[in-house]
């Protein structure tokens, strides 16, 4: 991926893949409550996709200079595998870790390119993933770590 459009297309596809991933897991899980949560996650990924589509058309600007709080919650949690009976806690950990992986991908790519519009876009995409990770980490902080 060498151009801005190529990287944006890649990022847009990734958001759709993430949305599809959550919908697939939602089909597998047994409880209606868990299904709903996963479908909400899917909807969140579709929202991210819409933002990136708007970036591509110039209707929305990425904000690479913005500082995004990193709660680092997901950094020290164990990897969770998808199963038919994942818990709410598991679902949030999966979501946090996916966002962290996406953030790392764009950050690493940004480090490898010289100063350019492409670098600017990659950093901007990394910041978007950081925002998504913060969303899930804040949910985890509120819903799971109630007593800690």
């Amino acid at each position: 991926m060498n151009t801005v459009d190529e990287i944006l297309d890649y990022a847009i596809d990734q958001e759709q893949l993430a949305a599809d991933f959550y919908e697939d897991v939602a089909q597998r899980v047994e409880t209606a409550g868990m299904k709903k949560i996963l479908l909400d996650f899917s909807a969140e990924e579709k929202r991210h996709k819409k933002i990136l589509l708007a970036v591509k058309t110039g209707e929305h600007e990425l904000t690479p200079e913005q500082e995004i709080l990193d709660l680092k919650i997901s950094d020290y949690l164990v990897e969770v595998n998808v199963s038919d009976n994942i818990t709410y806690q598991d679902a949030l950990i999966i979501a946090m870790q996916r966002e962290r992986a996406a953030y790392n991908l764009y950050s690493d790519m940004a480090k490898k390119v010289p100063e350019s519009k492409l670098k600017y876009i990659l950093i901007g995409l990394a910041k978007e993933e950081a925002k998504h990770k913060l969303f899930f980490e804040a949910e985890y902080d509120e819903r799971v770590l109630t007593d800690n």
Partner: protein, 602 residues
């Protein structure tokens, strides 16, 4: 007649042509003294409408009236004092008793009007020129007509309390209870805030009257767990007690306990018995915790046959298996539960739904079902090494101790978490002879545990390390021990304006070794006894129910309540959920009766 008397009329005429000595309306130019007791001022934002001014007024010159802008505020009656200056004698007692120090007097004293009704006014609400007067009578600093300090609850000293699981609080004697009851201004603001809307001022009044049987009856109208709540209630009532604005709130919880302690269990039947007219309806309740048993009590009072299914061998739920006996002795919990069973509630112990009996069969066989199985599954830390054999669950430790089993914690323990389960696990560990360190992710001020629990855990020698984030569990050199890596956290503001969040500082990691690590970071529900098909029909989000009116679910016969159906997760909320569900089940079983009742009311 003397010569002077004869000539005096002529001297009067002399005065007729002189300038008069009197001045018109002299008082308007003469301000009242700086501490003059003039017309009333009320700082209505500070006032909570407790009505103590109305109560103390010797001339019935004050009425509490509703003011729309204060309606519905938590900790506020929505009323403000209205003065009748036809009756007021400006003694200032209302200012002296004011619990919020919002009431004061201006140094203004002249008010001329030809409308007699204008001399009734609501201070601070009706626009008056003296409302912002700086001068006038104010209550002296530190002067209280009502004692600001509560009667201290006698307690076991920390060193003594650690020797056993004996109850730490010793209870008021009669003199202490009456003195504390006297501090209550009977405003009733606490009633609205209490989740169960207990008749607090009335039962406190019964202490003043020495009528404890009446006090017990009053409590049972809204709460079948007074012995329990008199010991461990979260006491939201006290947080809005107006006496607590300038002093310490009335010790409502301890007064509740005092009443229960005066009445022998064997007299409960005589004092509380009401005739029960049996109906043909049968209700099943799942869970013999405070929610389930509260529903059972009020449903049985309506005459329905009530059967409670409980998985454990005794009732009480978290009250039995989560709250240690030094806070809530078994005998007190049993006092509450035994009265509930004495009115005909049948509890089937060791009956696990989904194993011993199926949920669907209860729906089939009963006219209504109430679910209240709480939050019994401990959340896991999900950090590497958590499956180490020396990492134990706080809930399991408490259940073991409640069942007289040795939890095997060793002598040096770390407790992870800052809620009541963490505090209970820590204090239980101290009583088992362990040295305890509590590691909590945020600041002490953020801890969700009761402040009293936090304080007492420290008094009992627990060390709290705040802003400590667990990172990894690893083997210790000694196989009987375990090590934990934890990092220091810095608190950062939430960009969305929520509470501050802890962020790990990766260059500040510590490793410590313990005999065991007790995890108490939160709990969730176990709804495995509900089939997928049943769960599909219910509004369950994040493992919690969101019931509708009267705790009713979308399934016709099913009602839910307790920790997995409310946001507060305390005993009193579960008790009220149970009572509210009982009202809902009655309406569900007798719809015609309630429709007629509503028609009559309208």
């Amino acid at each position: 007649m003397s010569l002077k008397d004869l000539l005096s009329p002529f001297f009067v005429w002399q005065r007729a042509f002189e300038k008069p000595y009197t001045t018109l309306r002299p008082t308007l130019d003469r301000p009242g003294a700086p501490a003059y007791r003039g017309f009333h001022i009320n700082i209505t934002e500070t006032c909570v409408g407790c009505g103590s001014c109305q109560t103390i007024c010797q001339n019935n010159a004050i009425d509490m009236v509703a003011v729309d802008s204060y309606a519905g505020r938590d900790g506020d009656s929505g009323l403000r004092p209205r003065f009748d200056y036809g009756r007021c004698c400006w003694c200032g007692l209302c200012v002296d008793i004011c619990t919020a120090a919002s009431l004061r007097m201006s140094n203004e004293y002249a008010w001329i009007s030809d409308d007699p009704d204008s001399f009734h006014f609501t201070a601070g609400v009706d626009d008056k020129p003296w409302q912002d007067n700086e001068l006038g009578y104010r209550r002296a600093e530190g002067y209280h007509l009502n004692p600001p300090k509560r009667i201290e609850m006698p307690m076991l000293a920390a060193e003594e309390s650690l020797k056993s699981f004996a109850e730490v609080t010793l209870g008021y004697n009669e003199e202490q209870a009456k003195n504390e009851a006297d501090r209550c201004v009977e405003c009733g603001i606490c009633v609205a805030t209490c989740p169960a809307h207990m008749d607090v001022p009335d039962y406190i009044h019964s202490i003043r009257d020495g009528d404890y049987e009446k006090g017990l009856q009053l409590m049972y109208r809204t709460n079948p767990f007074p012995a329990t709540c008199g010991r461990i209630c979260t006491r939201r009532c006290e947080s809005v007690c107006p006496v607590g604005i300038l002093g310490e709130p009335v010790a409502i919880r301890w007064l509740k306990r005092f009443i229960v302690d005066q009445v022998d269990k064997k007299d409960y039947k005589r004092i509380l018995e009401k005739p029960i007219e049996n109906t043909d309806f049968k209700v099943a309740i799942i869970g013999a915790g405070p929610g389930g048993l509260s529903a059972a009590y009020y449903l049985r009072q309506q005459g329905h046959a009530v059967t409670v299914y409980e998985a454990q061998e005794t009732g009480g739920g978290m009250l039995r298996y989560g709250v240690p006996s030094y806070r809530l002795p078994d005998a007190e919990l049993d006092k509450d539960i035994d009265h509930i069973t004495s009115i005909g509630v049948d509890i089937k112990y060791n009956s696990r739904i989904g194993k011993d009996i199926m949920f669907e069969s209860l729906l089939e066989d009963y006219d209504a079902v109430f679910l209240s199985t709480g939050l019994s599954v401990p959340s896991s830390m999900r950090i590497n090494g958590e499956n180490h054999s020396r990492v134990l669950s706080g809930l399991q430790i408490l259940a073991d101790v409640a069942s007289d089993r040795d939890p095997g914690i060793g002598k040096k323990v770390a407790v992870i978490g800052g809620g009541n389960v963490a505090m209970d696990a820590a204090r239980v560990s101290r009583r088992l002879g362990a040295e305890v360190t509590i590691l909590y992710r945020r600041r002490i001020s953020d801890m969700p545990a009761d402040e009293e629990e936090i304080h007492e855990s420290q008094e009992e020698g627990c060390t709290i390390v705040s802003q400590a984030i667990p990172v990894e569990i690893i083997d210790a050199e000694n196989m009987q021990q375990v090590s934990i890596k934890w990092g220091e956290a810095k608190m950062v503001d939430d960009p969305k304006g929520g509470r501050a969040r802890p962020v790990l500082q990766e260059d500040k990691i510590h490793t410590e070794t313990f005999d065991c690590i007790i995890s108490a970071i939160g709990q969730s529900s176990n709804l495995d006894y509900l089939s997928k098909e049943v769960q599909e029909q219910l509004a369950i989000e994040w493992g919690k129910f969101t019931p509708g009116e009267y705790q009713h679910t979308s399934m016709q016969k099913l009602f839910v309540g307790g920790d997995f159906a409310n946001r507060t997760a305390d005993a009193i909320s579960a008790i009220e959920d149970g009572h509210h569900a009982a009202r809902g089940i009655n309406r569900f079983l007798n719809p015609d009766f309630y429709t007629q009742l509503e028609k009559q009311d309208n």
